[in-house]
């Protein structure tokens, strides 16, 4: 099982939209796929009309494997399952701190799922905490959506510095530009500046109103509007990402 995190220190960068659409595409090409919603806001879960069962909470999540497996729910799409988020996840960091070896906890907790899924996507909350560190260890690839703005780039640099100072494997980090508005000069300039930076993915995701409508459709845009520009961009992004996972020959 390959694991891919959609991660950003900053919120509102298109993380969840990318997680939902990439997981959907993954379920079609490398079934079955699991999307693990780690954000207490539960946007991924909302997009799939899924809420966690009443008995599920961060405690169960920290117990891992079987407890996780029994709370996974099928989405409306074949071969795509989701581990829904729960509002109690807001305390995950505090609870994680009480665990032994918290940085390795997430990796350990999903071990048994490797027989069930080819690919696992994490949709992570926007911050840099102990949970994020655990996520970094559990992920083979960390996709970082960046809006081509100064602040977004700054948070990316912060992330790089964090990896370097903690001697983490920064080659896992694969940023890509998201919510790109080509009519904006600043966006064009930043993309041009970073286009050839090692590790950056070449595909960009355009700002598209159809993506915002995912909240209305409550389904991946690639499932309901496969021909819209954003869907095509996600498909190309997926093709770029899958090459990183070694699943594609």
């Amino acid at each position: 099982m390959k694991t891919i995190a959609l991660y950003s220190i900053k919120g509102g960068v298109g993380k969840t939209a990318a997680a939902v659409n990439l997981a959907y595409l993954s379920s079609r090409f490398f079934p079955p796929t699991l999307l693990c919603d780690l954000d207490p806001q539960g946007a991924s879960s909302y997009y799939f009309r899924i809420s966690a069962s009443k008995k599920y909470n961060s405690d169960k999540f920290l117990k891992g494997n079987k407890k996780i497996y029994s709370n996974i729910k099928a989405t409306d799409f074949d071969n795509l399952d989701l581990l829904p988020s729960d509002f109690s996840y807001r305390n995950l960091d505090i609870e994680l701190a009480e665990e032994k070896n918290p940085q390795r906890k997430l990796k350990k907790n999903i071990e048994e799922l490797s027989n069930d899924y080819q690919l696992l996507f994490f949709d992570s909350p926007p911050n840099l905490t102990l949970l994020s560190e655990s996520l970094f260890a559990a992920s083979d690839t960390i996709l970082v959506p960046l809006i081509p703005t100064t602040l977004s780039i700054r948070t990316f640099m912060q992330l790089k510095d964090f990896f370097d100072s903690n001697k983490l494997n920064s080659s896992k980090i694969r940023p890509f530009f998201s919510m790109v508005e080509k009519q904006k000069k600043l966006h064009r300039d930043i993309i041009n500046e970073f286009r050839n930076t090692p590790g950056f993915l070449t595909q960009t995701i355009p700002y598209n109103s159809e993506v915002e409508k995912m909240g209305l459709y409550r389904a991946p845009i690639n499932a309901v509007q496969p021909n819209c520009p954003a869907s095509k961009a996600y498909l190309h992004l997926w093709e770029e990402v899958i090459k990183l996972t070694e699943l594609q020959e």
């Binding site: 729910k73 099928a74 409306d76 399952d81 027989n115 069930d116 899924y117 409550r218």
Partner: protein, 520 residues
């Protein structure tokens, strides 16, 4: 493997409409939306010996895909694309896949034959909860059984498959469906499979090549022998069609084993039947056996094709193609010949005579058949003991040179003892008979390897005549003969050790325990 919640099948008297379902089973705010509607054919496959069912697997062809399904849970464990609904196929002919590996492990020698072909009309609906989230699929199915004129009735089903994580949410739906007046039974996948088999006149696990006739130790040996012969006769009858339809080589193999067992029963248990009749049928079955030899020989060589090729260097392997093509061609001729005979009135007359003989209920004249009224137990103990002692005596007499003739003869003695143990197995305790058979099996395998290599060498030697100027073929024959000669000599060298192990105190004790009657 990711598990999907089990589908539950509700057998209904007629096709239920979505309106009826919506009215009668859905909670407020829940709806059904049409997902798909399709007419398709599905088929189930298994070997003649039910290898898949025995291991808890159903082999289903549906939507151009062949599935392996766990019979108890209904979970699909492997799949591969598959065209058409052939009458039979071999696992080895499937594309490389997990399914192929799994099917080959069930059987690669027996063909998977089509058990039934079903026309299915399915309309599937998504069951949406109050949040418009799909929580289950409800499929309304009508199944028509094809080719079974006597069963015209359609099977109407309603299949409820909850989505993972929504099993509890759909429990009330399950309960409401169960309570519907139109529903007359609730089935899991296994029960549905058995229902379909029953409707298509398939006897699940109705055939086994194993010798499972249950005898009573105090019954007369005449009664028991008739039971054994009835069993071997039924095996012959059951395999006839498979031979004629050319499904796989095991039909003929089992047919021949049944013939040999029939002859063994009559020869080993002398004095049970009228001597004249006994001799008549022995001759009849010997002649019948001979009629099958040529076809079986070809089958055996064709089954060895892969191992022959693999034992030669790649550059020599193509030279065997014409050799095997010739065997396949001659096989066709022998198959036609045997099939014609099996359909002939001569064969039918013989069968009728034999059936008439088996149906004689009265014990023959006691003076002419003094053994017939003895108890099965006493005859079993005596004949097994005699055969065992004979085997030991003959084995001990085998010279240091261990000639081919000596080993061939000893193999036959082994076989006779093995048959007796199998015929009477049911009157002994399993823990007494199984170790004895295991000890004998080791010796049989050794002698079998020897005779096998010896017969093949002889056959290949005959093939040398075919070589004119084909040097590659000559080299291949040479290569194969060297390999077989080595195997034969290895088996010969191993014989003394194997026989010593059989002719050992431990084995004697096992036979002693068996024959003193305490294990009865």
């Amino acid at each position: 493997m990711r598990t999907i919640p089990e589908t539950v099948y509700f057998r209904t008297k007629s096709t239920l409409s979505p309106e009826t379902l919506a009215q009668q089973i859905l909670p407020a705010g829940w709806i059904l939306t049409l997902l798909s509607s399709a007419k398709e054919q599905q088929a189930f496959y298994d070997t003649f010996e039910w290898h898949a069912f025995e291991k808890g697997v159903a082999v289903q062809k549906k939507e151009r895909i062949l599935f392996l399904i766990d019979i108890n849970s209904g979970q699909k464990s492997a799949s591969v694309s598959f065209q058409g609904n052939p009458l039979s196929f071999f696992s080895e002919t499937l594309p490389d896949s997990l399914l192929q590996t799994k099917l080959c492990s069930l059987s690669n020698i027996r063909a998977f034959s089509r058990l039934c072909l079903l026309n299915t009309f399915t309309t599937s609906y998504r069951l949406l909860d109050q949040n418009s989230k799909t929580v289950a699929i409800i499929a309304v199915e009508s199944i028509q059984l094809t080719g079974h004129e006597r069963y015209q009735e359609e099977i109407h089903l309603l299949a409820l498959t909850p989505f993972k994580g929504y099993e509890e949410d759909t429990t009330p739906i399950h309960q409401s469906l169960s309570a519907l007046e139109a529903v007359h039974s609730v089935l899991n996948f296994r029960e549905l499979f058995l229902l379909l088999m029953k409707c298509t006149k398939q006897r699940v696990q109705g055939y086994s090549a194993k010798f499972l006739t249950k005898l009573h130790p105090d019954a007369t040996i005449h009664e028991s022998a008739l039971l054994l012969l009835e069993h071997t006769f039924s095996v012959m009858l059951l395999n006839k069609n498979g031979i004629k339809k050319n499904i796989d080589s095991e039909f003929l193999h089992d047919y021949r084993v049944a013939l040999r067992r029939t002859r063994s029963i009559m020869k080993l248990l002398m004095g049970i039947f009228n001597e004249r009749e006994n001799q008549y049928f022995l001759n009849l079955f010997r002649t019948l056996g001979k009629r099958t030899n040529d076809l079986r020989d070809r089958d055996v060589y064709l089954l060895r094709k892969k191992s022959y090729c693999n034992s030669l260097p790649p550059n020599l392997q193509p030279s065997l193609i014409p050799f095997f093509d010739n065997i396949a061609e001659s096989r066709k001729v022998f198959h036609r010949r045997l099939s014609r005979y099996l359909s002939s009135s001569d064969y039918q007359v013989s069968l009728n005579e034999w059936e008439g003989f088996l149906n004689q209920q009265t014990l023959p004249d006691v003076e002419r058949t003094p053994q017939g009224s003895r108890s099965t137990k006493s005859v079993a103990l005596e004949t097994i003991k005699r055969a065992w002692k004979k085997l030991l005596r003959r084995g001990r007499q085998i010279s240091r040179e261990t000639t081919d003739t000596e080993l061939h003869a000893l193999r036959i003695d082994c076989k006779k003892l093995r048959y007796l143990l199998e015929f009477f197995a049911s009157i002994f305790q399993p823990d007494a008979i199984i170790p004895v058979i295991r000890q004998l099996k080791e010796l049989q395998e050794n002698l079998g390897a020897f005779v096998d290599a010896s017969v093949q060498l002889h056959f290949l030697h005959q093939q040398l005549e075919l070589i004119h100027s084909d040097t590659l073929f000559a080299a291949s024959m040479g290569g194969l003969m060297v390999t077989l000669f080595q195997k034969k000599e290895e088996a010969r060298l191993k014989f003394n050790k194997t026989f010593t192990s059989f002719d050992h105190e431990e084995t004697s004790q096992l036979f002693h325990d068996l024959l003193t009657g305490s294990s009865l």
